[in-house]
Structure formats: C-alpha cells, structure tokens
C-alpha cells in the first residue's frame, strides 16, 4: 500500500529571510556578503561584555513591510528576548530574537497547487539576528577535531516567518515557498538570493493515519537552502516516518539535518534539554511601539503585489498563463510595464518577452535586471514591425544584434540595411524576373493550384534576403498573375 493511501502528511514551515539592510540589526557593521573572515565585526556582534545593542530602524521598516505584504497584523507592542543555547556560531551564547510578542501576527497567503487554490496561514513573523559561520576541519561536524568560526554574518538581520501546519502535500509546500519568496522579492525587503543563503527553510513534517484528527509526532529538519532540497528532504522524511509507523514504533520528536550528498536526514539534536531555550526578555533593548501612523507610512511604500499585477495584466488581454509568467519575478514584470509605456499591444509584447527575450537571457545566463536590451529598445523594435519597416523574422535577428551590441534597433536597421522593402517599384522588378524564371509554377497557379503561389513568394523573399514586405509581395503577385 502506498504511503499516501495510508497516511496524511502535515507540514508547517519556518522560513528565515535575510533583510537587505546596509548594516547589522544591532550594530553598525556592514552586512556585505563576502569580506575576509572576522572583519565585519565589532564588540556588539562579537558579544563582548558590556557592549550594548541598538536596534536598526530599517529592520523594523522591512519587517512591517513584509508583514503587510503577507496580510499580517502589525503588533502595536513588541519586544526582544534572549534565546539561550550553546553553539560556537553564537558569539553571546544566546540569540537575540522575539518570543511571545513578535512584530507580525496572523497573516497568510493563497497558493495554487495541482489546480486547487488554498489559503496557508502564517502564524507569526519575528525579527532576529543571524549566527556566524562555521567551517569544519573534516568532512562533517562529527568527523572534525576542530572548527573555525567567522562572525561576519553574526548579527545580520533576519525575519523568521512561521506558517501554520496547513500543508498536506509536497506540491503545496513548494507552491507556498515559491509564493512567499515571490512576495518577499516584490517588496524588496530581501534580495532572496537562495544560492547565497539569503533564504533558509526549516521543515516540520509529521504523518497521521488518514482520517485521524490529532497530529502525529513531528520532526524538524533545519537549514535547507533550495526548493529542490526541501522536496527531496520531505520525500525522504515521509518515507522514513512511514517505515517507523509501519513497524509499530513511534516517531521521535527531534531536530534533524539534511545531508545533501547522501540524500538523507540525520538526527541533529535529540536530548530533551536541547530544546529548552530559557527565553527571557532582552534587558538591553527597549520595547517597540508601532503606531498606526508608522504602519500607514510603510503601507504607502508597498509595490503592486503579484496577484494584483496579474489581474491587471489579464485585464489588458493577457491569458492567465502569460500573466503568471510575466509577474513571476518583479524584474520581469517591471520590464514589461516599462515597455508597455511606449508600446501598447500587451499581447505581442508578452509574446516577445516570454519568447525571444527570455531565450536570449537564459542562453547567456543573464538576469532580467541586467539585460543589455532595455525595455524601451524592445518597444521600439516592436513598433518597427508594426510600421512595416521590419518583418517579424528579421526583427528576431535584430533583437540578437541588440543583445550583443546594446544598440537601438533603428541604428542596427540603418547600419545593416535591413529595412523591409515596401517600395512597389523595387518589388515589381523582382516579381517580374521570378515569374519569368518559374513558368511551371505560374501555370500551376493559373490552373487553380493555390499552393503554387507560396513557392513564388518564397523565391521573391529569397531574392530579397527576406527583406521584402510579405503582405505587399502577395498582393502584387496576385495582381500580376490574375
């Protein structure tokens, strides 16, 4: 019997997202990525005795902004707490976080998975500091005799977003993560660079017999950094827990770690006491009072969010699919809107962006934001097609030229003499010679074989290196042959 016929999976997620401030959450050290080890540090983030933290205002602004985008309430009163545990990546032996009074409460977002829409609740989101980075001398922690610590990342601001245990399938989990990252990217509170560790996921999974109403015992797998790791980790963990339950045993509530190389999860912390963080209010930081005025000021900075933007594009005539693809990433949607400002045919524009422009960017592994073709230049190119200056086919090669040179399409057309031949006089001469050279096709056409005209048009296009205006060629040819 398949696992899915026997057990229902229940999943909740904790997502840690790095906020893109210039400085750390409690000190003025830079958050810049890269930097030589232990050079972006000071007495505060190194946890020196007597050093006092001061909260970065921008962290609060970003947390409010993300909270609003995730339809959360912004707490009027919130505070920081100390989460106590020993681990060498923690310079102070506690992490400054928020425990019982987080800044964002009760939000959520709508996902679509396997054709079904579903609301996934967000329990809370809170501000906290990141830990330092450990480098182990051996292959893994347990085979290393010593480890090296770099505190450059210690104190980088994070927003931890905790979902309700509302997800029941892996596609739902992936849809939630994609949607969440998309919203965060739109609000620009984070650069959301997964490959640099800007977003990390903790996955809580439990199984229960189909039909059961109480939750089974869960495990938490920490620190996954890609959607594919989340998917593989869940597949493994579901199968593992099912085997435990099938054998009549109990799943142990524990923290696990994902081994990417082996594709398995392993016990990280199992001792009961390791989960006792002895939270208490952070005496070194004053509480936070956020009034309506502050919240409304941030609300005004919210961009048009993906769902609203998709609806707007559909109203312009785009299909649901096209609107979804265009709004997937904010940079792409911005590119579309900018081009739309000077080229009004939304559908044609979308086709070009999703087709040739995307293909060029992908081939060159270039991000939309760094595209050498500007939105304005693309709009200009499409206008040249509409005016009859360029055929669609030649426009594609002009686009490639634009990509490699960054030049305006009108300049490329001029330099390369690519303009479409729409001059009747010039075309008539060519048509005459093609007719003269192909008497059999002419006869076939006159005998009622309509297909023969296609061959003649092809010959004319060939003679003009594709530059003849195809509509005009058709019209003139028919006149000649009738």
């Amino acid at each position: 019997m398949a696992v899915a016929d026997k057990y229902e999976m229940v999943c909740g997620l904790e997502v840690h997202v790095e906020l893109q401030t210039k400085t750390k959450i409690f000190c003025g050290c830079t958050t810049e990525f890269g930097g030589e080890q232990n050079t972006h540090v000071c007495p505060v983030c190194l946890g020196m005795p007597g050093a006092l933290p001061v909260l970065n205002r921008e962290v609060v602004n970003y947390a409010i902004k993300a909270g609003l985008a995730l339809e959360s309430e912004i707490a009027q009163f919130s505070k920081f707490d100390r989460k106590n545990y020993f681990y060498p990546d923690l310079s102070k032996n506690y992490q400054t976080s928020q425990f019982d009074l987080p800044i964002c409460i009760k939000g959520g977002l709508e996902i679509e998975a396997e054709g079904e829409k579903k609301w996934i609740g967000i329990t809370r989101a809170h501000m906290e500091e990141d830990a330092g980075k450990l480098v182990h001398s051996g292959e893994t922690i347990s085979t290393s005799n010593e480890s090296s610590v770099d505190y450059n990342r210690a104190g980088v601001p994070l927003l931890e977003i905790v979902s309700e245990p509302d997800m029941r399938t892996i596609p739902e989990v992936l849809a939630y993560l994609e949607k969440l990252v998309q919203i965060l990217e739109y609000t620009e509170v984070s650069d959301c660079r997964l490959e640099q560790g800007s977003v990390r996921f903790d996955v809580n999974v439990s199984l229960r017999p189909i039909g059961a109403t109480s939750l089974g015992t869960r495990t938490e797998t920490k620190n996954l950094n890609s959607f594919s790791s989340v998917r593989r980790c869940m597949e493994y963990e579901i199968a593992r827990q099912a085997r435990v339950l099938d054998a009549g045993e109990n799943v142990v509530q524990e923290t696990r770690t994902w081994d990417e190389g082996q594709g398995i999860t392993l016990t990280l912390r199992s001792k009961e006491e390791a989960h006792d963080y002895r939270y208490f209010p952070e005496p070194d930081l004053a509480p936070l009072i956020i009034d309506r005025e502050w919240v409304e000021k941030i609300r005004k900075t919210l961009p048009e969010l993906p769902a609203a933007r998709r609806t707007r594009l559909q109203a312009l005539g785009l299909s649901a699919y096209d609107a979804t693809v265009i709004t997937q990433a904010k940079a792409m949607a911005d590119f579309f809107d900018e081009a739309l400002a000077s080229y009004g045919d939304a559908k044609t524009l979308a086709n070009w962006i999703m087709g040739d422009v995307t293909r060029l960017l992908n081939t060159n592994q270039c991000r939309v934001a760094d595209s050498p073709i500007s939105a304005k230049q693309l709009a200009e190119l499409l206008a040249l097609i509409d005016k009859g200056t360029l055929s669609g086919k030649i426009a594609k090669s002009v686009l490639e030229e634009m990509y490699s040179t960054g030049k305006d399409p009108s300049i490329i057309v001029k330099e390369k003499g690519l303009a479409q031949i729409s001059d009747e006089g010039a075309l008539l001469g060519i048509i005459d010679s093609v007719i003269a050279a192909n008497p059999q096709s002419v006869e076939d056409y006159r005998a009622g074989k309509d297909r023969a005209i296609g061959f003649l048009v092809g010959q004319i296009m060939k003679a003009t290196k594709g530059q003849a205006n195809p509509g005009l060629v058709n019209q003139l040819l028919k006149e000649k042959l009738s």
């Binding site: 401030t21 210039k22 400085t23 000190c27 003025g28 050290c29 830079t30 030589e36 080890q37 232990n38 050079t39 972006h40 540090v41 000071c42 007495p43 190194l46 001061v54 909260l55 970065n56 205002r57 921008e58 962290v59 609060v60 009163f77 505070k79 106590n84 020993f86 681990y87 060498p88 009074l101 450990l134 480098v135 922690i141 347990s142 290393s144 005799n145 010593e146 480890s147 090296s148 610590v149 770099d150 505190y151 016990t267 990280l268 912390r269 199992s270 001792k271 006491e273 390791a274 006792d276 002895r278 209010p281 005496p283 930081l285 004053a286 509480p287 936070l288 009072i289």
Partner: protein
C-alpha cells in the same frame, strides 16, 4: 513552589556546570530560599495589570541604517584562546 535537586541538576546541565554533591545540596537550598522570598509577590492581585516587558520606561530606541567602522581582525581575535588564519578556532563540537 519548591525547587528539587533534579531541577538544580537540570539547570546546571543546561548551563554546562558540573556541580559536586555538596554544591547541588547548597544551591537547592539557596534557590528555594530566593524563590520563596520572591513568591511573596504572588500574593498581590495583578488582575488587569499588563506584564512588564522592560524595567525602564523607554521604547523605540533606534539607530539609522548607516555603516560604522568595524574593528580590525587582529583586535577581534585578540582575546581568543585559539585562532587560525583569521578564524576563531573552537574544539570539536558535540551535537548531542
């Protein structure tokens, strides 16, 4: 509320403290005495009183997001018991 020996042993383990038999005994008594004294507060009627989040009546102490100089690497590592190539070096990490 009374503090048992087990409570003291548990808290000591969390704090990575190794206590002798005599110390465990001593701390159990002392903690009971301290918490017993503080328990007087439980006699107060606190209905409708908002929990105190901070002892000082301050809020929104914030700084602007402006970079200030960090300290040099050698200063950062100056008090480290062990360091190597700019890293703090720590002994084997035990996970359980």
């Amino acid at each position: 509320m009374t503090i048992s020996r087990e409570d003291v042993e548990y808290v000591a383990a969390l704090a990575r403290l190794e206590l002798t038999e005599q110390e465990t005994q001593e701390y159990t008594e002392q903690l009971n005495s301290i918490l017993g004294y503080a328990a007087m507060l439980e006699r107060l009627d606190t209905d409708g009183v908002v929990p105190t989040a901070h002892a000082v009546p301050l809020h929104n102490v914030l700084r602007e997001d402006q970079v200030s100089p960090s300290i040099p690497q050698e200063k950062a590592l100056q008090n480290a018991p062990d360091a190597d190539e700019g890293f703090f070096r720590v002994p084997k990490i035990s996970l359980t």
